[in-house]
């Protein structure tokens, strides 16, 4: 069984934000919600690095652990999804998440946030696969169609890799050997534990 993971190759990411656009387009994400974002460290100075980050679909997901209504679940592919019918918009998953993945359509007085929205690895939600209901709430379900997330498929430099963790790691290892650099599996230790 595959264990889906994201990996962003910082040596390749050129901060074009195509993944962000692809995600918004594919999933019809509401205004103000960004399931994916590109962050540049040391912007404008030598050695700057860009990273595309979204939900990393953690092995022991902190969001799921703190959710008061227990609306998170992990699929057989290791994708962390949530049920918007149960979500009460309390904001706890946003406090717990290391990657700042959970997003809210609102952020207003008296803690009004609306239902949480986050990257689904383009795997929809708990409703019937590729139903209108699923699309409205969670966006596209490309995984059910045998496709990978739109962000990674769209990446022009193939910096953003998505798919089975072992295959992603093999591709990245090959690249690292060829360019004789140091490997940097950004965020993996945080998301998938020290052993990866």
């Amino acid at each position: 069984m595959a264990r889906m993971k994201f990996l962003c190759d910082a040596e390749r990411c050129i901060e074009c934000n195509a993944c962000v656009t692809a995600c918004k387009n594919e999933n019809e994400v509401p205004w103000g919600v960004n399931r994916r974002r590109v962050v540049t460290i040391n912007d404008g100075v030598p050695g700057e690095k860009s990273i595309s980050v979204a939900c990393m679909h953690c092995t022991d997901a902190p969001c799921a652990a703190v959710c008061p209504v227990d609306c998170f679940y992990t699929t057989d592919d290791g994708i962390v999804l949530h049920d918007k019918d149960l979500c009460i918009g309390c904001g706890y998953c946003f406090y717990a998440c290391p990657f700042g993945a959970p997003q809210y359509p609102q952020q207003e007085a008296f803690g009004v946030r609306g239902k949480m929205d986050k990257c689904t690895f383009c795997a929809g939600g708990p409703t019937a696969n590729n139903s209108n209901d699923e699309y409205a709430k969670y966006g596209a379900n490309r995984v059910a169609e045998g496709k990978l997330p739109a962000c990674a498929e769209m990446c022009s430099t193939k910096a953003l890799l998505a798919g089975d963790g072992d295959m992603v790691a093999d591709i990245f290892r090959e690249r690292t050997l060829r360019r004789s650099g140091r490997p940097q599996t950004w965020g993996w230790e945080q998301a998938y534990g020290a052993g990866v």
């Binding site: 960004n34 209504v69 207003e108």
Partner: protein, 358 residues
Amino acid sequence: MKKQGDAKARAKRVHVKIMLWSILLIAVGAMVAPLSGYLFVELASAQGSSFEEVNPRSETTWRSVREGVSGITTVQSPEAGVLIHNGGENWRQIRNGLVANVMPWVLAAAVIAITLAYLIGGRNRLDHRPTGQVVLRWKLWERVLHWTTATLFIVLSITGLSLLFGRAVLIPILGPAGFAAYAEVAMMSHNYSGPFFAACVAAMALAWVWHNVPNKTDWEWFKAGGGIFGGKHPSAGRMNGGEKVWFWFVVLVGGIVCITGVVLNFPIWGQTREIMQQASLVHAVAAILWIGLFLGHAYIGTAGTEGAIDGMATGYVSVEWAKQHHDLWYEDVKDQAIDASEAGVKSGVAVSQRDKPA
């Protein structure tokens, strides 16, 4: 022939000389040349860009990322530039571990303490039957303030505890969908009534602070254990030592609960996640301590002390109750004592009839 030999020997000496000087030059050069690196570094730093700056080690970058440094991003939301925020995992461990596992025992301890007080100490009864004379203890606005705060407190307690412990306790009973529907209502009630409750607490603090300044009488009251463990009932003014402790607990610990609650309730002032995490932990711990002490307050004010509820229910207490529990205050107000029928209450009389032996 000899001349030729001299010339040959001279040429040989020149060769040796050149050779020795060359070796010396190489030896000195070999020692000095590496030192020119210092000169290079001095020059480079004088130009304002060090080797480290031109060729940064990527490990430094990734270390700073793991430590939560903020980068540049086009996404406009708070802390969007932070790639890894480590505080969340700490918050999770403390909330799900320490708070969720230890704090229920605080509530259990409060319930056990009250049960023991009732079983061992028994109800604090009036020494003398009420004669029907009553005296005003709480004015109407004080009672309205008290009961408004109390109602909001109970709503906030139940909804707050539901959000912290509901996943463990209520989901097995109500099911995921049932609990989620309740939790949404609970969260909204909690969030909307919270600020009004905080205003009530502030109003109570202002209204009653002058009656709750600690004095020497309170010290004597505490030394006598508040009269719980038998013996003569210690002297007290309008507020006894125990009531003052409750007042200051409400003002200080309750104030912390209210302030952290407002911080959590209005995520529009640019609070960082770290502030929200800390606020939520402090809020939960302080609020549960408050609920624990509240249980004691509710017991003493109702079942624990005969006649005490009349004061907050009708405003009037029987003269006998005032004399027994707040003798110094009674001395001040005894000339204001009126007949129960005149005050339109049945408190003093009702209690005496209810407790009359059959």
